[in-house]
Amino acid sequence: MTDIHTPGSKRTLGTDVIIIGGGIVGASAALALRQKGVAVVLLERDFCGSRSSGINYGGVRRQGRLEAQLPLSQRAHHIWARLPELIGIDGEYVRSGHLKLGVNERDMASLENYAQMAARYELPLEILDQQSLRRRFPWISPTALGGSYCAEDGHANPRLVSPAFAHAARRRGAQIFDQTPVSSIEHDGQRFIVECPQLQVRAPLLINCAGAWGHRIAEWFDEQVPLQVSCPNMTVTEPLPLFMDASIGIEGGSIYARQVSRGNCVIGGGQGYTTSDTTARPGREAILELMKIASALFPALANAHLIRFWSGIEGNIPDRNPVVGPSHTTPGLFHGFGFCGAGFQIGPAVGEVLAELIDDGHTPTPIDAFAINRFSTASSTLMSTCIVSGDE
């Protein structure tokens, strides 16, 4: 990292790698690169870990992920095990167990199928019938027919964990700039030149970790990703006596719930709406529906109060997999974005993978399913459909 010169008021920096986006993926990549001794400048539009990485539900689970993500997720599981030594705080991470409930026979069949597949990735899941569910988790109403339990999955506090990755990277020498939006990027054949209002940064390598806005950066390099934003609703109750001793999901979506050690139940579900390009609010109908479902499943909530709800912006991709890996148009450019609302657990592993791709040129973790060129066929089909239907 060198300060090249300071023409006028604009500072100019040179470095090895520029990372755009200080969410958990970008910050983890910065930390992993610093551990390899690579110079890093990280540019964050808002504050590191203040967007979806910091305001998501906080699930740290492998269960329920698409098959393609399981190797990455298993790798992340080992990283989470040494969180305090990595980022300096425990981040309220607990391996509470993750219980995915089924409310009908179809759900139960699908949970069983999933468990069989997961076993091939050394992810042991225990299928519980209604009787054993009642015995082990008496606080769940008989609405649930059964469930699939993953003992070592859990949850953490994203408000603390995600910014802590950035702080850890900073402590290891990464140069991190909050409130520094990127206005343009050029590639002069050898280096990327990234322009921000007060700063210009140059580097031969660039990682795009811009979350729900990552497809816009990809587009600057002629790579199309059919990303659409979504705004998951989150709610939190007042502190309640501890009763919920596992993080809960429901097969097929619906709500998800966990209780933190202070007693608050964090419950997510349904969609909010965007109020700007970067902000979202919870939706009233979905909040009321969430409350209805949550109190049907968890009778202990009957007398509870919700004290806050919120939403944020996630980047969804139709196949529900993120974009991770090298650019197919621009040498030196790498992507790690579009985690479809499920990036918190795998984020730290993606950071390591990106650092390996940059420093070693390859990674032992399979990431083919996340290649950015997987959309090229799909998107041309999509385009011809649009032309035929005349929608645009």
Partner: protein, 478 residues
């Protein structure tokens, strides 16, 4: 701030039935409209003119003193309005989405939606609080609470009480307690005596208010009630309840035994709803707070949303009445109805004069800026989440925090049941000092719905939920 008149068919909606809300409703009724008047309380009057429950017999004079005729006039207007407005007492507005408010009928915990095209927010204020050691002990209350106990319940917060802090309420409440036969052990004013004199010249612009203030002070002194200036709260003592108070005055520590302590540093606006409605905010030096901006008529930055009373900046009850009427006249104007321009001019002039007086008042009862420098690390800052001043200071330093919402995310300040109503402004003061910024630059806590805790019981149809129906067929979000 142009608010289009076209296609306004719904009745105006008013949130808050204090002096501003009642005068607004009355003005709209007079023009032939039937507004919706939503209020959390059982009866109209707001906090300042709060009515006692049925069955109480004290006359207005005993309850409201000099303001008795004002209070009686407001109550009379409220009674006259009852069958001329769509009145919704016991009702909390907890959220807004699009052009519809989300309501909770507090008594039966029932949900209601309220569509609006024109909305007057008259949401009032609460005490401005600066924590000190022991402020969460039973027996320690806000000045406003001490007054409500007396006015609304005919109770005192103890047999022997101390009042502390600053602001015009300080002397009024001391007077009201003493008058009710309660032993007032001391009044501890955080402002130096000189501030009163320096400010008095400009306060003379509003002789009745100034005279009232002097009268309370004289009354208290004539009865030998101890009044201390430049007195800064150090600690409320006691194990399970308050038994005494310690303060510092010119480098010396003092102590008094007491059973009740009321304190506060003037008032702060309740702005959550304006925030959720996306009204634009600006920093207001006089209130030392970010407030929703309004034009001379009370129009906010959002089309159809009007602001009146202390909820958009502290101006007092009289000004709230004028601002309420003015906001209603703006509503009528924007509906294309004719309004009395002379009346508008008169109200605006009265408000302008009040603003000048308010500036003088700020001189007489200045905000104790040294609080953030001097408050001890072990003081509980956030009484909901039990976060200390020291924890907050440490986080600001360690993480180089500069923004209130980041401070909230890291410290939990403002994340409890009260959503930062009690500790938010004090936390902003700490952040400003700790980050070397102005209070304005430290920012403000963004309001988040629900405005107050929302009971799960609002969804009584729980039993009807069928397991096959889910919020959305989507993956679990982390």
């Amino acid at each position: 701030m142009s608010h289009a008149a076209s296609l306004t068919t719904l009745p105006p909606v008013i949130v808050g039935a204090g002096p501003a809300g009642i005068r607004a409703a009355e003005t709209l009724v007079r023009a032939g409209l039937r507004p919706v008047l939503i209020d959390e309380a059982a009866k109209g009057g707001g906090q300042i003119y709060r009515q006692q429950p049925d069955g109480f017999q004290r006359p207005a004079k005993a309850l409201y003193g000099f303001e008795a005729s004002r209070a009686e006039a407001i109550h009379a207007s409220w009674r006259a309005l009852l069958d001329q407005v769509d009145y919704r007492p016991h009702t909390l507005v907890w959220n807004s989405e699009g052009d519809e408010l989300d309501l909770l009928q507090v008594r039966d915990q029932h949900y209601d939606g309220q569509p609006w095209q024109q909305l007057i927010l008259a949401t009032g204020a609460t005490d401005r609080i600066l924590p000190f050691s022991g402020w969460t002990l039973p027996g320690v209350y806000t000045l406003g609470a001490a007054q409500i106990a007396l006015k609304y319940q005919a109770t005192a917060i103890g047999s022997r009480v101390v009042f502390a802090g600053t602001g015009p309420l300080l002397y009024l409440i001391a007077y009201q307690y003493a008058k009710a036969g309660v032993e007032v052990a001391a009044v501890l004013d955080s402002a130096p005596f000189s501030a009163k004199w320096q400010a008095s010249a400009s306060m003379l612009r509003n002789p009745p208010v100034f005279a009232k203030g002097l009268w309370y002070l004289g009354w208290l002194k004539a009865r030998g009630i101890r009044i201390e200036y430049d007195a800064h709260l150090l600690a409320a003592s006691g194990e399970q309840r308050l038994d005494g108070v310690r303060w510092r005055q010119q480098g010396q520590e003092h102590q008094l035994d007491c059973e009740g302590l009321g304190f506060g540093y003037a008032l702060r606006s309740e702005t959550q709803l304006a925030d959720i409605l996306d009204c634009r905010f600006a920093f207001d030096e006089l209130n030392r707070a970010w407030l929703p901006v309004r034009d001379a008529m009370g129009r906010s930055s959002r089309d159809g949303v009007y602001l009146a009373g202390d909820g958009a900046g502290i101006m007092g009850a009289d000004a709230a009445e004028w601002a309420g009427e003015l906001a209603a006249l703006a509503v009528l104007q924007d509906r294309g109805m004719s309004v009395d321009r002379a009346r508008i001019h008169q109200l605006q002039q009265q408000l302008q004069r009040t603003r000048q007086f308010r500036e003088a008042l700020e001189g007489a009862f200045p905000f104790p800026e040294q609080w953030a420098h001097e408050v001890a690390d072990d003081v509980v800052l956030c009484r909901c989440e039990n976060v200390t001043v020291g924890e907050v200071r440490a986080l600001i330093g360690e993480l180089s925090l500069q923004d209130m919402n980041r401070l909230k995310a890291h410290s939990r300040v403002g994340m409890g049941r009260c959503q930062g109503r009690m500790c938010g402004l004090a936390a902003t003061e700490l952040l400003a000092i700790g980050s070397g910024q102005s209070v304005a630059d430290a920012g403000r806590l963004r309001a988040q719905a629900p405005v107050k805790p929302l009971p799960y019981a609002i969804t009584p149809t729980v039993q009807q939920w069928s397991p096959s129906l889910s919020v959305a067929e989507e993956a679990e979000h982390d």
